[in-house]
Symmetry: C2
Subunit: 376 residues, 2 copies
């Protein structure tokens, strides 16, 4: 199959290298903002208008101008494979609509889980069983930070600096550490599992920016390990979804996920829970997932979404118990729902009565520097 690649950064060049090794895929054109290869163009229309190109791979990231590019390519009748979670999570209905109209495939396996073939397996699984829940450790950067804080005693800033030095975290780490990246991936997982893509604004999200060594000290004392979890359940009304730190007992599978590894699972009503782990980012792992999507399309199995996938309302109704650390003066607000244990640095609330996840998120949002985590 003759393909073009938009964005020849780390992942794009990985796809290029893989394709070069394969007899069945030929990269006939690449696109980037500056020309630095022979077959490269800086004009998207060179790709859109090239009838030879049957499939376009996009590894640029962001929504602007990638959304325009995606719609142009799809409307020109080209299959579209993207690793861009932001684009797909924000424009899923529009992209799918265009793909349906033009009778081309839209695949985005590398947009959730990096190298892990999670979304394709999830799509296959929902064909064979009713999926009741999806989730996992979907962001490697935050897992790296949490892991180093917990195994080596680093504080948040030290662990973040180390993640940046290794290229795991960006200079502005907000989309990772505040949970937005995990939130986008969760939207994709819901869309694949149920044909229901929740809006980002309906998924409460809380990251790891405010976690402190004192929290981790408390987790260790109570035999818990912290991981940033994105998870969603199918409810009668639609989807219940949220992103926040969860505390696991030490023998849980999540605790064995170290460094920047990703861990994604789904639950089938009859078949139980299946988990997938591996490199969730990086040049080759992500590129290999892109290549697998291309190969799926080539063998006529290029579907990752139900035909009738729609944007859907979501909530976060699941009731959970939470660990909460707040300042003295914020104590009153949560006193009503929680049993407090005072510790040296603010209040640490070791036990709460179960609270709706969305209520806990709403309450904690305005407490500066406070931290909370769901107890598994």
């Amino acid at each position: 199959m003759k393909i073009a690649i938009l964005g020849m950064g780390k992942i794009g060049s990985g796809v290029y290298e893989y394709a070069m090794d394969m007899d069945t895929i030929a990269v006939v054109r690449t696109f980037d903002i500056k020309k630095w290869m022979d077959d490269m163009t800086t004009d998207i229309d060179d790709i859109v208008n090239d009838p030879e190109i049957e499939l376009v791979v996009e590894t640029m990231g962001g929504v602007n101008p990638t959304k325009e590019y995606a719609l142009k390519c799809i409307n020109a009748g080209k299959h579209y494979v993207t690793a861009n979670k932001q684009l797909v999570s924000e424009a899923i209905e529009e992209l799918l609509d265009a793909a349906k109209k033009n009778n081309v495939c839209l695949m985005f396996g590398a947009a959730c889980g990096g190298g892990i073939p999670y979304l394709k397996n999830l799509y296959n699984a929902q064909n064979a069983d009713k999926i009741t829940a999806v989730g996992g450790i979907l962001n490697g950067t935050t897992n790296y930070i949490l892991d180093r804080m917990q195994t080596e005693g680093l504080d948040y800033e030290q662990a973040l600096t180390s993640a940046q030095a290794l290229g795991y975290a960006e200079k502005d780490p907000a989309s990772d550490v505040d949970g937005l990246d995990a939130q986008r991936k969760l939207i994709l997982a819901c869309a694949v599992a149920w044909g229901l893509a929740p809006k980002a604004e309906d998924i409460p999200v809380s990251g790891i920016r405010h976690i402190k060594p004192i929290d981790i000290k408390y987790f260790k004392e109570t035999g818990r390990v912290a991981r940033l979890i994105a998870s969603a359940d199918k409810t009668e009304a639609g989807v219940s979804a949220s992103v926040e730190v969860h505390l696991f007992r030490e023998d849980a599978s999540e605790c064995a996920i170290h460094k920047n590894v990703n861990f994604a699972w789904y639950e089938g009503q009859r078949s139980g829970r299946f988990s997938f782990s591996g490199q969730g980012a990086g040049k080759y792992p992500t590129a290999v997932n892109v290549i697998q999507d291309v190969l799926s399309i080539m063998k006529g199995d290029g579907r990752m979404l139900k035909e009738d996938t729609v944007i859907a309302k979501a909530s976060a109704e699941r009731e959970r118990c939470f660990y909460i650390r707040v300042k003295d003066h914020e104590f009153e607000a949560i006193e009503k729902i929680a049993k407090a244990v005072k510790r040296e640095d603010g209040y640490v609330l070791s036990e709460t009565i179960p609270v709706k996840t969305e209520e806990m998120h709403a309450m904690m949002k305005n407490m500066c520097g406070a931290f909370f985590a769901a107890i598994e």
Copy 2:
């Protein structure tokens, strides 16, 4: 698609139930040794000669008469989906040959990993990257026994009895506890990954029958957890494969695999290690994998083996360090290769110089009641 099911035991009835819920799959005939359903026959030729049946699912187990049945059905031009690891591991070349001649699909995803879609992902992965190694915890029964011994202090007999009471282990548990079931699954994984199916006789296998509380006491003291591992590497000469207990550091992913869960992984040369976990056996998990194979065939993606898959020589050349427990009088034989630490019940050798895996297996084979494990 119109299908027939051979063997209406636990898994076969699971497949039947799933298919009943689906619009796209119709079970038009079932086969068992005694007739107890309306559409059931006890004569295989009723299925072989029924032109309406496009695909046959076999969930009977064993090689006799299933091999004859499989060849009859395939030669009658029917796609074949089986959960029978013994059959496929022993007759892979013959079955594939017949499938090629008759231009039908042969799928056996449920034969390795139960519900885990491991083999299909492995086949897809080898299309996109060079697979360097495969393996995992491929037998749930032994994992259940080892886990209960290690977490609850049961001895081997107690844990086995419990596994039998729960239906995880058969009355004669030999094929599980001696590692033969894991060995068969490993043969399938090698065949899918490399088109090379090692002969069972070339894969050294050692199970868990001789593990004792004293071993586990020692593992705990040294911070290790025991799991039965089937693993294989691609070597220049072919395949290096073995099955034996491995000892992992407590933070390894394998240690988080509890009860009868399976854990299967592969390593891509460029994309790294990907792991899959879930229920490795049981009615619905296994049935859902069978259904996924049927769906793959229906969408024209019914391939799980390279065309040129062959029986191949194998060895177990990887050098590893081993934990060994032998009786006093057997000490001399291994003294040459190991540094001994004497303990109350026989010799426990905590450190050895690296030894070829096949040499260790060969040496230990004749030492009655001795136990050994590879140190990760």
